[in-house]
């Protein structure tokens, strides 16, 4: 017997919870991400309070580039919402435009990050120089991996994944919403990282 498997609520909301499966799934996943970055921020606090000296980020890091990157990521969050809204208005072409912009912003972010890293390598500012540099590379590196992950998902949804629009538009729109939640989270992490690493004074 090869029963046809139909997982309920993978598209529509379950009335008593008000959620479809993937949305609950991504919220749970984000909760675990909060714990991941929460642990890193806590480590930052613990290491900093325990240290006798601590570098001032704005003196050894390139806070101007990072500021640009902050706006790039915020911009990408906005285009991400627009792409979702475009689908809600049944406009696939507009969706592709905004999703394309989102991916481009992601690329821009990584390029700028790459320039920043390259300059650090050049000056020998490596994780083994100080706890500050170590946590800088760990946190921005992990965040960068999250950006790459998000871009792979977004790129897929922009390209081959968008075929689903023709067959299951509701489900496709949900996917964009879920990918968007993740993308906003990645953005949010950066918004905490930026002042913590680049702006806080040293001691």
């Amino acid at each position: 017997m090869s029963a046809h498997i139909e997982i309920p609520y993978n598209m529509d909301e379950r009335p008593d919870t008000g959620l479809y499966n993937a949305k609950l799934g991504v919220w749970l996943f984000l909760a675990s991400e909060v714990m991941l970055f929460g642990a890193l921020f806590s480590s930052y606090v613990l290491l900093r309070t325990g240290a006798s000296t601590w570098e001032a980020g704005h003196l050894i890091l390139n806070w101007k580039l990072a500021m640009v990157n902050t706006f790039v990521l915020i911009g990408s969050s906005v285009t991400m919402v627009m792409s979702w809204a475009a689908l809600k208005m049944n406009n696939l072409a507009k969706f592709k435009l905004y999703m394309g912009l989102t991916v481009l912003c992601g690329i821009a972010f990584l390029v700028i990050k790459g320039i920043e890293y390259a300059a650090k390598f050049e000056h020998g500012l490596l994780p083994n120089q100080s706890t500050f540099m170590a946590i800088y590379f760990t946190m921005t590196g992990l965040h960068g991996l999250h950006v790459i992950g998000g871009m792979i998902v977004n790129g897929y949804l922009l390209g081959p994944g968008s075929k689903m629009w023709a067959t299951e538009p509701q489900r496709f729109t949900n996917r964009i919403e879920v990918a968007g939640l993740y993308w906003h989270f990645v953005d949010l992490v950066w918004i905490f990282l930026f002042p913590t690493l680049y702006l806080l004074p040293g001691k």
Partner: protein, 600 residues
């Protein structure tokens, strides 16, 4: 339109290929069995590691017969165990038993197989994700296993991987070093647990069958739900810590390395400025919730088996539910009771002592409710029930011996002694592992269509019960005498241990006995596959939804998605007659309560 495409699809792929069906399957039951078999293999492997350690402890410095030569000069020079190898065995025994054995069996296997059945769903909420979580676990296991074969062998710094030791041992900046591979393996295992726990939570929240309200959910599912939340929220900090330790080992950073370290007479050349205690905090922030990950699914299994075999509703079902939820919350705020000796100061210590005493309350509520459930029942002493019954006092001993550890005054004496080893093994070995055995005997008929042999099962049980206690009871005595854990000579070098060294030999014999009696289980497991008594769909006359499926359940599980008409444990209610003392969840009143006819 969706049905159209599926129809088309079906014509070509009616029968999935062997590989899709048994290797890369998305069926939660196949995945559950994959998890189950893999974790049983790892449990066996972890047990073998322990047997070698126990030989060394019982007869320190004596050549190991047979194996000694075979393991090679590096590990066993002249057939005698090298201290470094002993440390590898210890670290990997703990790691394998916890992360590759018990948790994947309790959550990966039992959770995967049973949660969708008990909530009346056709599969997990995300079948493909489910498959990938198994394979990520598998890769993590392979990495851990392979680490025995890299230069200088596997990780040697305990399952807790305390820094700075874990960073200065085999320090080469290569990924092919034991500790580095341990960290990489952990990242895989953590990722797998995250995927798995998201799936279990979404399945329970979203896919409950019509009528299956929260308070009609079997306690097993509640236990899995709380467990999954613990995995979801406690594991990421260890992942962060693992990444930081990787940085320390590979990129030369000093997250966990304080300034001014002198190692083997040489000043350590790092930037310093890190904190060794930070690792301990992050580790125990995971590892304390982790111990409840080890125990909650066990409690879930025991609850199911007890209700079924006492033919009574569980005593205090809602107390059980609330207690496990509170246990879940509190388990996040007790972690530093593993760290009283780190000089944390009285205020912080008082906080963690208080929370530790508090968390004992829900533990005891659960244990009490399970014991009271026996009261007045007409108990069927089946093999699963024997294991479930033994779980109660064994967990009791484990839990009660935890209390002196939770109070700093007594913990100063007991910390890092064999007493701690005795404590947690009582909870995990004759506790959790007995519960897992109970679960295997209990659900085996549903999975295979055949019952396991009761005779072999009883041999297995009584032997295990006797030898478990032979192994672990003496550890309390050794520990109270002051014998430290993790000594590769079994503590021989210290005067104060001399009068308790004899126990090492007793424990060694006990471990052999314990291993021997597991043969009954292994034989039974395979023999019953072919020869076990054939059973119908509900051989234990049980009430929860998994017994409403064909046996073994096909892909898609139910012939028709069931409705849940009542709570999970409606046994022997007033008015039910002797022919049929149970009202299954899936039968509407007019069927359940009509006449003596048995349901199929």
């Amino acid at each position: 339109m969706a049905t159209d495409t599926h129809h088309h699809h079906n014509e070509h792929h009616d029968e999935p290929s062997w590989i899709r069906k048994y290797v890369f399957s998305t069926d939660h039951k196949v995945i559950g069995i994959q998890y189950g078999l893999t974790s049983l293999v790892f449990l066996f492997f972890g047990f073998c590691l322990l047997m070698m350690m126990r030989w060394q402890l019982a007869y320190p410095g004596e050549a190991l017969p047979l194996l000694g030569k075979w393991l090679g000069e590096a590990r066993m020079p002249g057939g005698v165990m090298a201290p470094e190898f002993y440390n590898q065995l210890g670290a990997m025994h703990g790691t394998i038993m916890v992360f590759l054995g018990v948790v994947p069996l309790a959550v990966g296997a039992f959770g995967n197989y049973l949660v969708p059945l008990q909530v009346g769903a056709q599969d997990m909420a995300f079948p493909k994700l489910n498959m990938s979580s198994y394979w990520v676990y598998f890769v993590g296991g392979v990495v851990m296993f392979a680490s025995f074969f890299v230069p200088e062998g596997a990780a040697q710094s305990g399952w807790t991987s305390y820094a700075p030791l874990s960073i200065v041992t085999t320090p080469a900046q290569s990924i092919f070093r034991g500790q580095t591979m341990w960290l990489i393996g952990m990242v895989f295992l953590i990722t797998s647990s995250l995927l798995g726990s998201v799936n279990i939570i979404v399945t329970i929240v979203q896919l409950r069958a019509p009528g299956l309200t929260w308070m009609r959910l079997p306690f097993f599912c509640w236990a899995q739900l709380v467990t999954s939340f613990l995995l979801l929220l406690a594991f990421p900090p260890l992942e962060a810590a693992g990444v930081m330790q990787l940085m320390d080992r590979l990129a030369g950073s000093s997250f966990f390395m304080p300034a001014g370290l002198v190692i083997s007479g040489k000043p350590w050349e790092g930037s310093g400025g890190g904190s060794a205690l930070l690792w301990q905090h992050l580790f125990w922030f995971l590892a304390h919730p982790e111990v409840y990950v080890l125990i909650l699914p066990a409690m879930g299994i025991v609850a199911e088996v007890i209700a079924n075999n006492t033919r009574k509703p569980l005593w205090g079902y809602s107390a059980l539910v609330w207690a496990s939820a509170i246990l879940g919350f509190l388990s996040f705020v007790v972690w530093a009771h593993h760290m009283y000796l780190t000089g944390m100061g009285t205020a912080i210590s008082a906080f963690f002592q208080t929370t530790t005493m508090l968390i004992s309350v829900p533990s005891i509520i659960i244990l009490t409710a399970l014991i009271l459930s026996l009261w007045g029942g007409s108990i069927r002493f089946t093999t699963p029930m024997l294991f479930a019954l033994a779980f109660l006092p064994m967990f009791g001993i484990g839990g009660l011996t935890g209390l002196p550890l939770g109070l700093a005054t007594s913990d100063i004496q007991l910390h890092d002694t064999y007493y701690v080893i005795g404590h947690f093994h009582y909870v995990v070995a004759p506790g959790t592992i007995f519960a897992l055995f109970a679960g295997i005997y209990y659900w085996y008929p549903k999975v295979t269509g055949r019952r396991m042999s009761e005779t072999l099962g009883k041999w297995h049980f009584w032997g295990s019960l006797v030898f478990m206690n032979t192994v672990f009871m003496p550890m309390f005595v050794q520990g109270m005498a002051g014998m430290s854990r993790r000594m590769y000579d079994g503590g021989e070098a210290y005067l104060h241990n001399q009068h308790v060294l004899g126990f090492n030999r007793m424990i060694g014999v006990g471990a052999w006995g314990l291993g021997l009696f597991q043969l009954f289980f292994i034989i039974n497991f395979f023999w019953s596959l072919k020869r076990g008594e054939k059973v119908n769909d509900n051989p234990w006359k049980a009430t929860t939804l998994e017994w409403n499926t064909p046996t073994p359940p096909p892909h898609g599980n139910f012939t028709k998605i069931p409705d849940a008409y009542r709570g999970p444990y409606e046994y022997s209610l007033p008015g039910s007659d002797t022919h049929k003392d149970y009202y299954p969840q899936w039968e509407p009143d007019h069927v359940a309560k009509a006449g003596p006819k048995e349901t199929k």
